[in-house]
Subunit: 335 residues, 2 copies
């Protein structure tokens, strides 16, 4: 059993900060605070990384007591209290995506020098360490097992299936990592359909897109079932499965995310399908995280590969697996 | 059965916009978009309210198709596309809490006049209409029933209890509205303790703070159990229950939220307890919503009343009920 290496993660961040001439970084997304400290404190918490001991600012006294470990925990009344403490740094990075306009305005009160730095803060999360790989593999395993144990789906409703899946996650010590998608028949033409009372029929395409979170790490997997596929369904299944195979073959250390996306678009176009979403996404503490647009795949990253096509009034087909990027052939986690 | 009155809600907002000289409002929190349109589209969706027909900007083509009803749905590639459309208005309100620094920067690209207006956007949500009351009452009823059907808690672990509670919600067609809090023994001194493997013992104070979301509306309720209370526990139970009674009596149309809070602090002080959180909060589509600091209670608002005390190394006690504010005595929903 590996251990989570928080010191190593902070070291990586400090090295990126140095390259970008930041002498401090204010981190305030729940997932990032968890990544760097192991504390899942909630949404209104701030972590300050500088040369000194990392410092967690908390707004609830009780949470402070429970969370203080190898970090200084400082109780604050409001964000303005943080602003004063940032003035002594020359350049402070902040997360422009998780910082609201209101919080930004409060952080600015004492006029510190703030620089949008989400890409720096999130970069270390891309390549997973050994401990993280263990958690992700478990999350993926739970999802794959749930998918293969679905049993007979005919005669069940979409909500029946989603309940069955979430129970299966719970029994394995996990929870859904996002709202379960069960889209049968015409519903399958919609990418994010919510399960309803629709009963599953034998000629339906049934998209089942599910994920578990285990020990704070996420999985994401899609299968599309069809009990009695007609010729049109068969063609779609064959085409999209083929595209997925090509993309998984391509996913290697050194390949650009954007080149994968271009290739995906070209493969869809060749079959006459429209591009409606990206080929896949990075996954870890977040269901969707980097690598994304602009990034290059590296050994130890975990991504999903999820081609799909959607035809209004007919239905859709999507297949999604999680893979570990390596120098050679990527390793599929969800089979 | 009442029906959700979206037109009425938008009318209320337009009247507030007029008072505040806004000719448009850009709404982008998921709960607000749901409130004004009945569409639960997700986090990256924008609703524009002006004199014209309301317009939903969506970033996924498939979601657009499913959500378009009495609203114009416009597919956009990115937030900059919205910026251009805002230029024709003199003053555009936006939600400074749910708009990130990044989105704000993108919205500013075409230099529209943007005004922080979260308080205006959220004000209509405070007083619930008949349909909303039905959903909230159901959510509260599910939670109260789950609480009274807990059965024997001795010999169960905190996680056992949280699983039992979430299953009970699911059977009633609901889901947890927040992370279930089961805090036994010393854990009960922490306001937001996460359930762990700790077994419940007969002299433990056991805080059970749970809530269900039914049809998008939330409930929130806390009970603290103690099988064999000693004199110290008995005193705390008596004091906090008494404080809750006084606060519920006070919660009437015309009373200021801040005066409730001041009264809560005074009541705690009289018993020698520290103030560690607010006396309660508004509840509806959000678990925590207005009324809050600065608001005045009005008939038809729904709030929680949740006094508590927490003693490090010993334990804590909290009791929480949901009440409907009225001209006369408020009505308790969670009993």
């Amino acid at each position: 059993m590996a251990l989570a290496d928080f010191q190593g993660r902070i070291k990586k961040l400090r090295s990126l900060m140095e390259k970008n001439r930041l002498d401090a970084c204010l981190i305030n997304s729940r997932n990032d605070v968890y990544y760097y400290t192991g504390n899942d404190i909630g949404d209104s918490c701030f972590l300050l990384i500088s040369e000194a001991k990392p410092c967690i600012f908390v707004t609830s006294l009780s949470n402070e007591i429970e969370s203080a470990k190898e970090f200084n925990a400082i109780f604050i009344k409001g964000v303005s209290d943080i602003s004063k403490r940032l003035k002594r740094f020359r350049r402070v990075g902040f997360d422009e995506y998780s910082t609201s306009y209101k919080v930004f305005s409060d952080l600015k009160k004492s006029k510190p020098v703030l620089k949008p730095s989400a890409s720096i803060i999130k970069e270390p999360r891309m390549v997973k360490d050994e401990w993280e790989m263990e958690q992700i593999s478990k999350a993926a395993g739970i999802t794959a097992k749930t998918m293969s144990n679905l049993g007979e789906i005919l005669g069940k409703s979409e909500t029946d299936l989603s309940e069955q899946i979430e129970l299966s996650f719970r029994k394995a010590g996990a929870k859904p990592s996002f709202d379960t998608i069960i889209a049968s028949g015409k519903h399958s033409a919609f990418i994010h359909h919510k399960p309803d009372k629709a009963m599953i029929k034998q000629d339906d395409l049934v998209i089942i897109d599910i994920g578990a979170v285990f020990n704070s790490y996420c999985s994401d997997m899609t299968r599309t079932f069809c009990k009695k596929p007609g010729p049109k369904e068969r063609k779609i299944i064959e085409n999209i499965s083929g595209i997925q195979g090509e993309l998984i073959d391509m996913a290697k250390d050194g390949i650009k995310y954007d080149d994968m996306q271009k290739r995906y678009e070209a493969l869809l176009k060749r079959k006459g399908y429209k591009l409606l979403h990206s080929f896949g996404h990075g996954i870890g503490i977040g269901v969707h995280e980097r690598p994304a647009k602009g990034d290059t795949l590296k050994s130890g990253m975990v991504i999903t590969v999820e081609p799909g096509t959607y035809i209004k009034g007919f239905g859709g087909y999507r297949i999604e697996d999680m893979v570990i990027v390596r120098k050679g052939r990527s390793k599929i986690l969800t089979r």
